[in-house]
Symmetry: C2
Subunit: 323 residues, 2 copies
């Protein structure tokens, strides 16, 4: 089994100069509303607007000097791509980012800002990933997986070290799951450090790949539907190490509907004046759904990112006006 805790600890020292220690914001309105003490880990305020810079920097900083002579590539629905682009730009490493054809314009612009070349391929992030991996092999490039990589997972897990410092007595943490890199890092560290903390994986009903796979005992190749949570949409790579890590460490899974995601994004704008993307809305919606089980408990929601497109934000507000 992979030593996630060790990797997270190493990552924490490595990436410290390059990432923000994001605030853990106590939400009085949400706490009043839900009957628990609700804390928001604001990775929506991280550089590039998502937690993904943590994993990207850890991977890039861990490259050996001979690896640094090769070019780097990756594939992403956007946040990981932007994070790698940000890292390549900061560390002056040459590279290339693949994105699916349907990646939102906001996220693509987010990558282009860092002056890193970008290529479109495929309509599902798994297809884009597989193609980018092949491309990397053919062209002798280093491929950085968005989640299926111990160093990427280690980087994402540094959130757990910050949380332990920011709040005593955490009872539960709500974490969005796509490929599972974020939750693998957080759970892999915390379950070896403070195993009483409940780690709850949060997924959109429209793309519940990890939850269904865990249920089945193997990685499933499921058709996924479109979701507001574009950062967690799509399949999981065959053989992904995140599957095994989630099997071992994650306590529970909660699925949420598209309307529940919208309600969570609205609640965040209304009560907390924060803009969050769909994936962060998934985690908050899962807390809303299960708050009765956490009365008077200290719960943390990982607001994984802020990169919602104006089109998606409009559709959320239309929903608000009509309901």
């Amino acid at each position: 089994m992979f030593n996630v805790k060790r990797e997270v600890s190493m990552a924490f020292e490595r990436i410290k100069p390059f990432v923000r220690e994001t605030m853990l914001d106590y939400s009085l309105p949400l706490s009043n509303l839900l009957g628990c003490q609700a804390f928001l880990k604001c990775e929506n305020l991280q550089y590039t607007g998502s937690f993904k810079v943590r994993g990207a920097f850890n991977k890039l900083l861990a490259l050996t000097s001979s690896e640094r002579l090769q070019e780097v590539t990756t594939a992403s629905t956007g946040n990981h791509g932007a994070a790698v682009a940000f890292g390549l730009n900061k560390l002056k490493i040459p590279g290339l980012v693949f994105v699916p054809e349907n990646a939102s314009k906001t996220k693509v612009d987010n990558i282009l800002n860092y002056h890193i070349p970008l290529k479109h391929y495929g309509n599902d992030c798994m297809i884009t990933e597989l193609y980018a991996r092949e491309y990397a092999v053919k062209n002798h490039m280093i491929y950085i997986s968005p989640y299926n990589d111990l160093e990427v997972i280690g980087g994402q897990g540094t959130i757990a070290i910050e949380l332990m410092k920011q709040l005593n007595n955490i009872d539960a943490i709500f974490v969005p799951i796509g490929g599972g890199g974020l939750i693998s890092g957080i759970a892999g560290y915390l379950k070896e450090t403070a195993p009483h903390i409940k780690i709850i994986g949060c997924l959109p009903e429209n793309s519940p790949v990890m939850a269904e796979s865990i249920h089945a005992g193997r990685i499933l190749d499921i058709e996924t539907k479109e979701t507001l949570s574009d950062a967690t949409a799509g399949g999981m790579e065959p053989g992904s190490i995140t599957f095994e890590i989630c099997q071992k460490y994650v306590d529970d899974y909660i699925l949420v509907s598209e309307n529940e995601i919208k309600q969570a994004i609205i609640a965040m704008i209304k009560n907390q004046h924060l803009l969050i993307e769909g994936a962060a809305g998934v985690a908050l919606a899962a807390l809303f759904k299960s708050a009765s089980q956490f009365q008077n408990k200290n719960v943390v929601v990982i607001l994984s990112g802020a990169n919602i497109s104006l089109e998606n934000l409009s559709s959320v507000l239309d929903y608000y006006e009509n309901n």
Copy 2:
């Protein structure tokens, strides 16, 4: 003349344990777009979602022990009210907040969260202010002005001390103006410390009271129109000390239209994934309008607050979709 610099320095030490040192966020997309180095002072991420907690805490912490035996009251379009409510709740001082009848529901809820009593009066913040002052005199209460108070101004000015620490070589600062408390604090400190920094007051065309008053050489009682920048809307109290401070220290005034405010809010969501309220949009819109004068310069925009109502946000997104 009032010693603003001295008051800001004292306020900084006083309020330090109670307010956030908000981040100064370098915006790569805005810098690329505008040709200057654009930095955002994120008071939208301050407690209660606006800079107003700085002034409120300074005032409350400066109360003498005999004053602390009286109740406290204030009047506000919302942000100052929420800030005072937050402060009263934290410091366990009894009090009461007046808001105009037309204050947005988001802002009213923001106050109610702190379990402080609230009263509605009048339809313009100046009318509400005058009434609350009278009420305070009649009932032997301490009245906290949203801007016409040296200690409130001193608190707001602590932003300047943070800026001096966060960035070398600031060339210009864009500050929204309503009653003028924020800009009086910032300009009053900086012009006595680093007088080469240009301080630019930013106002909505629909409520340009301070700019017009400065132009006229006296405080004018102007009819104001509705504006997205509700936090800077309305008149200025007769005799307000902010008038004299602005006369002495503010370099320039820029007025922006309602559509320019909308464009600024959209730019912030799209490029920076941050939610800002109209008043912060006014400051950003003023930079957009004058960027050609600041090529390659280090400019700071004070994002004064995040408390935009869902209704106003919807109207901004409708504008985006139709233009």
